[in-house]
């Protein structure tokens, strides 16, 4: 859509990357558009750009937190990364292989290394299959265990998510939300993936259970050397689990950087506004930040502003913001931000 140079944010990260291993995920110019309506009348067709020219890389062992309002495209981005969606444009590399255009059939063997945990644990488990059957499915499909080994593997998987082995005989409806999400995690682990894309894995859970599940994610990362792309709208959760954070707004990453830099010294007004919206536990502890989010809804992804996409809601917007789309580039403070007048 825009002529943003594909290598912008990657080039900025290049000096450090030289000594490091190659990124596990490298997305450049990733775009996903949805076409709605107009099957009979092309003039009625509306193009919705859910993910607009997004570029980033995820290093092995890293956890990239992906935050943003609902509808900003973070879930769509997650589903693009796992190729549940076909891409509309851009390149996607996983572990050095270009998977952006692989057909579904060729994608299947790769999926063992690239797993996903879903948002709603009530919807992501087939209600008519027992837990053991659900956990055995990936092992059978990828022939990772012989029939005699499967039972032991299931018990092992259940143990790794801190559930007793006799759960394998139960049906999903007999489990609580937290337990089901543990099953969802165990199923993703079954294939020993390198990357897990977790799509708001705790937002459907009770707050007390959320903490347990986030802690489980942390423990598993250390045990199995996992890399996460962790999508969430709860900033506290993201701050706990992430090593880097990307802030999405209206289909694009507006700021990306190390978790401490993002939380302590955000440069993009939107990031600041998001952080400002966190309720502070103590009265008077609220830091004075210059950007407050006006009560407006974000523009529709079918109608993205031509200039800076945050301009209509930004208190700092000036003339230039309306005309010229800012690029994601390094700002002092350690983050990359897409803003002409960063904080």
């Amino acid at each position: 859509m825009t002529a943003m140079p594909l290598l912008g944010p990657l080039a900025a990260a290049a000096p450090a990357a030289a000594a490091e291993p190659r990124p596990l995920v490298r997305a450049s110019g990733l775009t996903k558009r949805f076409v709605t309506g107009g099957s009979w009348f092309p003039s009625r067709r509306r193009v919705l750009t859910a993910v607009d020219d997004v570029s980033f890389a995820v290093m092995p062992g890293e956890t990239l937190g992906l935050v943003g309002e609902s509808g900003c495209g973070k879930s769509t981005l997650g589903r693009c990364l796992t190729r549940l969606h076909d891409l509309s444009g851009g390149r996607l590399e996983f572990d050095g292989r270009d998977i952006g255009a692989l057909p579904m059939r060729r994608m299947r063997p790769l999926r063992a290394e690239l797993q996903m945990v879903f948002q709603d644990p009530h919807a992501s488990l087939n209600p008519r299959r027992r837990i053991g059957d659900l956990l055995a499915e990936p092992l059978r499909v990828h022939r990772l265990a012989s029939p005699s080994e499967i039972e032991a593997r299931i018990a092992e998987l259940l143990a790794s998510v801190e559930l007793p082995a006799d759960f394998s005989r139960r049906y999903p409806h007999e489990l609580s939300g937290g337990q089901r999400q543990r099953i969802g995690i165990a199923r993703a682990l079954a294939l020993r993936p390198k990357l897990i894309v977790a799509d708001e894995p705790v937002s459907a859970l009770d707050v007390s259970v959320q903490a347990q599940i986030v802690n489980l994610f942390c423990d598993l990362r250390d045990r199995f050397n996992l890399t996460y792309v962790f999508i969430a709208h709860d900033l506290a959760v993201v701050r706990q689990i992430s090593t880097r954070v990307a802030v999405m707004y209206l289909g694009a990453i507006v700021e990306i950087g190390d978790v401490d830099a993002i939380f302590e010294a955000p440069r993009h007004p939107y990031t600041a506004a998001l952080l400002d919206a966190i309720p502070e536990p103590h009265l008077g502890a609220r830091k004075a930040r210059s950007a407050r989010l006006p009560g407006k809804e974000p523009p529709s992804p079918a109608n993205i502003p031509a200039g800076c996409r945050f301009e209509p809601r930004c208190a700092r917007a000036r003339d230039r913001c309306r005309k010229e789309r800012p690029r994601l580039e390094a700002k002092d403070g350690g983050t990359l931000a897409a803003c002409h007048f960063p904080l």
């Binding site: 999926r111 990828h142 903490a211 802690n215």
Partner: protein, 354 residues
């Protein structure tokens, strides 16, 4: 950043809170099928309806036995000059009419005794009770076979549309639209009138005129769009569900997703449709037979007996009334059972055909 986040409910860290269900006190967990069956058994109305339906089916199955042992006449042969002994006196089966214009005959009335002519005779002197049982056999058979036929086609079409989408969905949908464009009865009646005399030959399938398979095929086909559409819709919504996405993300091949994830979740919705479809087919069959374009004489069905009784409505109303009540009772029971099955299998669904 490695610190654990503060648990807002400040639960003690030493005792991770877990569900009481974790104890493993529960023995065998019941699957969805067992649960549904248990729920259905607890539904008293549905169970009574099921019992009545079983009785009706059993009685109809025993038709030949009844004809030979109880009524003692051939229910498919006319018996114009026959006599029957009732209470020790011989009476003609078809007595000359003494009322009205004095034309024609009045068949013998119901004896209400377990024996010959329990429900009287029709205008050809045939035992109505025996014909009712034979007719019920045909009515049930046609309704059942047509239901099976509809389900096979409709489920196949619905699943194909929903699973493959795109051009398959488009083409099959237009075909259904064409069928749907006709009112059910108009379509059924037109098809019957065209096919009733000639029979139907499609490739290896050869249905002779007057065969029971003709009404079965006609009734089976006309309801296909009304069942295929909901199945397609449910398949589409299942295909968008997260557990299908999860299966794709796990790398499960499409055919396995179809068999393991899609079919088991569609089946309850199909089962829910069965009683409703049976009831609808029952009524459609009776209507076609009543119009003489369903079951052909000398075969009987409840619809044809109602038609036989039409001319005797003033003198012997029982001839039309009895099969009418049989249809009404059976359909009522099927509907009650259908409600029960729906509540048991798919409590949230709102099932409606036509």
């Amino acid at each position: 950043m490695t610190d654990r986040i503060l648990d807002p409910l400040a639960l003690p860290a030493a005792a991770p809170p877990q569900d009481p269900a974790l104890g493993g006190a529960k023995e065998a967990s019941s699957g969805p099928w067992a649960t549904a069956w248990r729920r259905l058994r607890r539904d008293r109305g549905a169970m009574v309806a099921l019992a009545v339906l079983c009785l009706v089916a059993l009685a109809c199955a025993a038709a030949p036995l009844y004809a030979s042992a109880v009524s003692g006449t051939n229910p498919f042969a006319t018996n114009l000059n026959g006599e029957v002994t009732i209470d020790g006196t011989a009476q003609p089966v078809l007595a000359p009419s003494t009322t009205g214009l004095g034309l024609g005959v009045t068949p013998i009335g119901p004896t209400w005794a377990f024996g010959p002519y329990m429900l009287g005779a029709d205008n050809q002197g045939r035992d109505v009770a025996a014909r009712m049982l034979y007719g019920g056999r045909n009515s049930l058979l046609i309704a059942g076979a047509a239901t099976l036929l509809t389900l096979v086609f409709a489920v196949a079409i619905g699943l194909l549309c929903g699973f493959f989408g795109g051009i398959v969905d488009g083409v099959l949908n237009r075909v259904l639209d064409v069928l749907w464009a006709f009112p059910i009865y108009l379509l059924a009646i037109s098809l019957s009138i065209v096919l009733i005399a000639e029979g139907l030959t499609i490739g290896p399938i050869d249905i002779r005129a007057g065969s029971l398979w003709l009404p079965i095929a006609i009734i089976g086909v006309v309801y296909v769009p009304y069942v295929a559409r909901p199945i397609r819709g449910q398949t589409l919504s299942l295909m968008r569900s997260e557990f299908i996405a999860a299966a794709i993300a796990l790398g499960v091949p499409p055919w396995r997703i179809f068999v393991k994830d899609l079919l088991p979740n569609i089946m309850p919705r199909v089962i829910v449709l069965v009683p409703i479809l049976l009831a609808l087919n029952m009524i459609t069959e009776s209507s076609l037979s009543f119009l003489s374009i369903g079951v052909q004489p000398p075969d009987a069905s409840w619809g044809t007996i109602i038609q036989d009784g039409q001319g005797l409505l003033y003198s012997r109303p029982i001839v039309a009334l009895a099969p009418g009540l049989a249809v009404a009772l059976t359909v009522l029971c099927l509907n009650i059972l259908g409600d029960g099955v729906r509540d048991a299998f798919d409590p949230r669904a709102k099932v409606r055909i036509a």
